[in-house]
């Protein structure tokens, strides 16, 4: 007994020593905000300006459902004042253990420094009635890809501004002013996007995963099918044939896919149905030039309108 207890004392002493002598967080005034996705980081930056330090955990070209909960993320989370997540169980496979292990009481669920951005957004595809996994990896709380509608971008920015003002009341006016400025710029940009997309309103498309309902709703596109037979289930030959027939029947040319999906099946569908694969970016940072929320839509709309023109 004597030795183990000695050892345990040593262990405890080491831990305590580490805690006491650990460099204290610099008393910088800026709020340290960590977001799960780059889109939320971009919106936070728009609102927070130079009064916040924002960083995202996932990369923009990564499948947000499957992010490895790497210990290096803990280094970012342990000193965060605010953690903003997409919610609706998008990050359920990786965020909960990171939050638990972060040792940061501020960002635990329901704590002051935890913000679920879905509460501000219009959520589509909320399942009605019983939900089973016979339908694949369904999100029982609704479709989590809601940031791909500029209207939701505006609402999330408003919500983030309210949260930042609550956490840093001294800069409240600054955040509100930046939010209003962002809203104005977004409204102008949206007019431009709507004008570019106007000729293609009502066009039918298929998408790989159910990532685009918000985008489609906002720009008046009609998603008639999915390359995945069920959410999270890879394409099967029989479903692929059905989809090809559907696309031919409905005279649908475009397949929208995310950059993290294999293009082999979409390519062969495109060949069979005489269509075209469009790799759309679902998040900021998907390409190096997509540096913010505006450029995300600029990019997606540019390649989408180009693809529509090519398949007239």
């Amino acid at each position: 007994m004597r030795l183990p207890s000695k050892l345990f004392c040593l262990v405890s002493a080491t831990c305590l020593g580490v805690a006491v002598f650990a460099p204290q967080r610099a008393s910088a005034k800026n709020l340290k905000v960590i977001t799960t996705l780059t889109d939320l980081a971009s919106l936070t930056q728009e609102v927070g300006g130079d009064k916040v330090d924002v960083e995202s955990l996932a990369k923009g070209y990564q499948d947000p459902h499957f992010v490895d909960p790497k210990p290096s993320f803990l280094l970012k989370l342990r000193h965060a004042d605010l953690l903003i997540s997409v919610g609706l169980e998008l990050e359920i496979g990786w965020l909960p253990p990171l939050i638990t292990q972060s040792g940061n009481g501020n960002i635990q669920p329901a704590a002051r420094g935890f913000l679920d951005a879905s509460q501000f957004s219009e959520i589509l595809e909320i399942p009605q009635g019983a939900v089973t996994r016979a339908e694949g990896d369904v999100h029982p709380l609704g479709n989590p890809h809601y940031w791909l509608n500029p209207d939701n971008g505006r609402r999330i920015a408003k919500g983030i501004a309210a949260k930042l003002s609550e956490m840093d009341p001294a800069d409240g006016a600054y955040f509100q002013q930046r939010e209003q400025d962002f809203e104005k710029r977004l409204a102008e940009a949206d007019k431009k996007w709507q004008a570019l997309m106007a000729p293609y309103r009502g066009r039918k498309i298929v998408t790989y995963h159910r990532s685009w309902p918000n985008f489609a709703k906002h720009f008046g596109l009609d998603v008639i099918g999915y390359i995945e037979p069920r959410p999270g289930i890879p394409p099967t030959p029989s479903h692929t044939i059905e989809l090809v027939n559907l696309m031919k029947r409905e005279n649908t040319k475009l397949e929208l896919i995310e950059p993290y999906f294999d293009v082999k099946t979409p390519d062969s569908i495109a060949r069979m149905a005489g269509g075209k694969v469009v790799v759309m970016m679902p998040s900021v940072g998907g390409k190096p030039e997509i540096t913010d929320y505006f450029k995300l839509f600029d990019y997606d709309i540019a390649i989408l309108t180009q693809a529509f023109q090519q398949t007239q």
């Binding site: 007994m1 183990p4 207890s5 050892l7 345990f8 262990v11 405890s12 080491t14 831990c15 580490v18 805690a19 650990a22 990369k59 070209y61 990564q62 499948d63 499957f66 490895d68 909960p69 790497k70 210990p71 290096s72 803990l74 280094l75 342990r78 359920i92 496979g93 990786w94 939050i99 638990t100 292990q101 972060s102 040792g103 940061n104 009481g105 635990q108 669920p109 329901a110 879905s118 509460q119 501000f120 957004s121 219009e122 959520i123 996994r133 694949g136 990896d137 709380l141 209207d151 505006r154 609402r155 408003k158 309210a162 409204a187 999270g232 890879p234 950059p259 993290y260 999906f261 294999d262």
Partner: protein, 450 residues
């Protein structure tokens, strides 16, 4: 449910009232596009308020009806216009009054409210079929090896709790059941309860997240096999500031001192301890290195005066190209473990049966495994493992083995795995075995292991 209906009705009425006013407003405002854009702005604001209210309804549903006044007031402040607040409050007050009236149930059957606070429940089934011959460690043709029930929830603003109850074919065992204090000062994370000790890597893993059907020989021989070091006690974890891009983390644990054949607590003071230092570093965005050293010490089955020491070194290399993370990945891992136990000489063994060939003094045993797993398609993983280990009570005897593993995932919630295993036991006995394992998960979506 009624309170939500009331709230929805209120939202719909509010929207109708708002839209009904709009046509009247248009003719009044004489000319110009500025009026149109003002109108557009107004519609946008109304839409936003509607969406914000829907969000609140979702949150209330998620939290369950007992909405505290603080919650509702905080939610109401989201809307900026003062007139909006008065409109919003009315339905919310309705929610509060109906909530207090409707939710009185007898016998703890609190309906939806009670269910909302239930923990996340999951069940993972592990079915194994075995073929081939093993003279030393035979396995049945079919076994429902384990049915693990997980119950996980947040306890209060300061802690969460996790229970994993493992139903074997013959009995039930609390594999883990602990509370985690997540809001301690200075970044400490503490746990209390029964838990798998942080000794190396394999010891911390539940069966269903192992990359193999079985555990390597070194775990079987030196670290307590499938149960491993899994005991009741306390754990403290802290991230240590480290230079460069290193992540350093120390875990110190103390347990009662009863774990499989590794530790035995003959009296109350025979505690065991575990210390683990983990270093992690991202090499690139796509690859990282995870290193660890572990130490554990406790009293062994020979009595309070006899100590077993365990030393371990582990290394894991992950590669996963982020753009194709769901299709391709590689994990290479290895652990080296040394076990040193003090034991009485053969003629001193009176109360217990000493294993044969027991020499007095120290018995030193060593074992390791090295394995690699390559995911070559979205649903397919191929892997191999080599392992060998001395026997703990007779370290002259050394078992060697090798395995080939092929895994297929029909979906994220099911797994089919085949494993061919060759073992050459110390006494010259060979075993060739094939296993087919089916794992399936129900309920709450667990986190993916890393």
């Amino acid at each position: 449910m009624r309170q939500f209906q009331v709230l929805f009705t209120a939202i719909i009425l509010m929207t109708c009232a708002a839209t009904a006013q709009q046509p009247a407003a248009v003719p009044e405002s004489g000319n110009g596009s500025s009026d149109v854009s003002a109108l557009e702005q107004k519609i946008r604001d109304l839409e936003d308020r509607l969406v914000a209210l829907e969000g609140q309804v979702r949150q209330l549903k998620a939290q369950g009806p007992p909405a505290t006044p603080e919650n509702t007031v905080a939610a109401a402040t989201l809307s900026s216009a003062p007139s909006a607040e008065t409109q919003v409050r009315t339905p919310e007050e309705a929610v509060r009054t109906t909530a207090s009236g409707d939710n009185i149930r007898l016998g703890g059957a609190g309906g939806a409210a009670a269910k909302a606070l239930n923990p996340d429940i999951s069940v993972i089934g592990d079915f194994i079929g075995g073929a081939g011959h093993n003279p030393l460690n035979p396995t049945p043709a079919f076994q429902m090896h384990e049915s693990e029930v997980g119950l996980q929830a947040i306890v209060d603003p300061y802690a969460r709790a996790d229970f994993f109850i493992s139903f074997g074919e013959t009995g039930v065992n609390v594999e883990e059941g602990y509370i985690t204090f997540t809001a301690l000062p200075k970044g400490f994370v503490a746990k209390a309860g029964k838990m798998r000790a942080s000794f190396g890597k394999v010891n911390t893993l539940h069966n269903h997240v192992l990359p193999w059907v079985d555990r390597p020989l070194v775990s079987q021989n030196l670290v307590g096999g499938e149960d491993g070091i899994d005991d009741a006690g306390l754990s403290v974890e802290h991230i240590i500031p480290a230079p460069g891009k290193w992540f350093l983390d120390f875990t110190g644990q103390t347990f009662r001192g009863d774990s499989a054949d590794v530790y035995t607590s003959s009296n109350k003071n025979d505690l065991s301890v575990v210390g683990h230092l983990r270093g992690f570093r991202d090499l690139t965005d796509n690859s990282n290195l995870d290193l660890g050293v572990s130490y554990s010490r406790g009293h062994n089955l020979f009595g309070s005066d006899f100590i077993t020491n365990l030393y371990g070194v582990d290394a894991t290399y992950h590669w996963k190209p982020l753009r194709r993370s769901i299709y391709k990945s590689f994990v290479g891992r290895s652990e080296f473990i040394w076990r040193q136990q003090s034991q009485p000489s053969l003629n001193a063994c009176q109360t217990i049966t000493c294993p044969t060939n027991t020499a007095g003094g120290f018995q030193r045993a060593f074992g390791y495994y090295a394995s690699g797993d390559f995911q070559f398609a979205r649903r397919w993983l191929v892997g191999g493992r080599v392992d060998q280990s001395d026997r703990p009570f007779n370290s002259h005897l050394n078992d060697k083995g090798g395995s080939f593993v092929l895994t297929y995932w029909p979906s994220e919630f099911a797994q089919v795995r085949g494993q061919y295993r060759f073992t050459r036991y110390a006494n010259g006995l060979d075993a060739h075995e094939a296993f087919l394992q089916l794992q399936f998960a129900l309920g709450a979506h667990g986190a993916h292991p890393f």
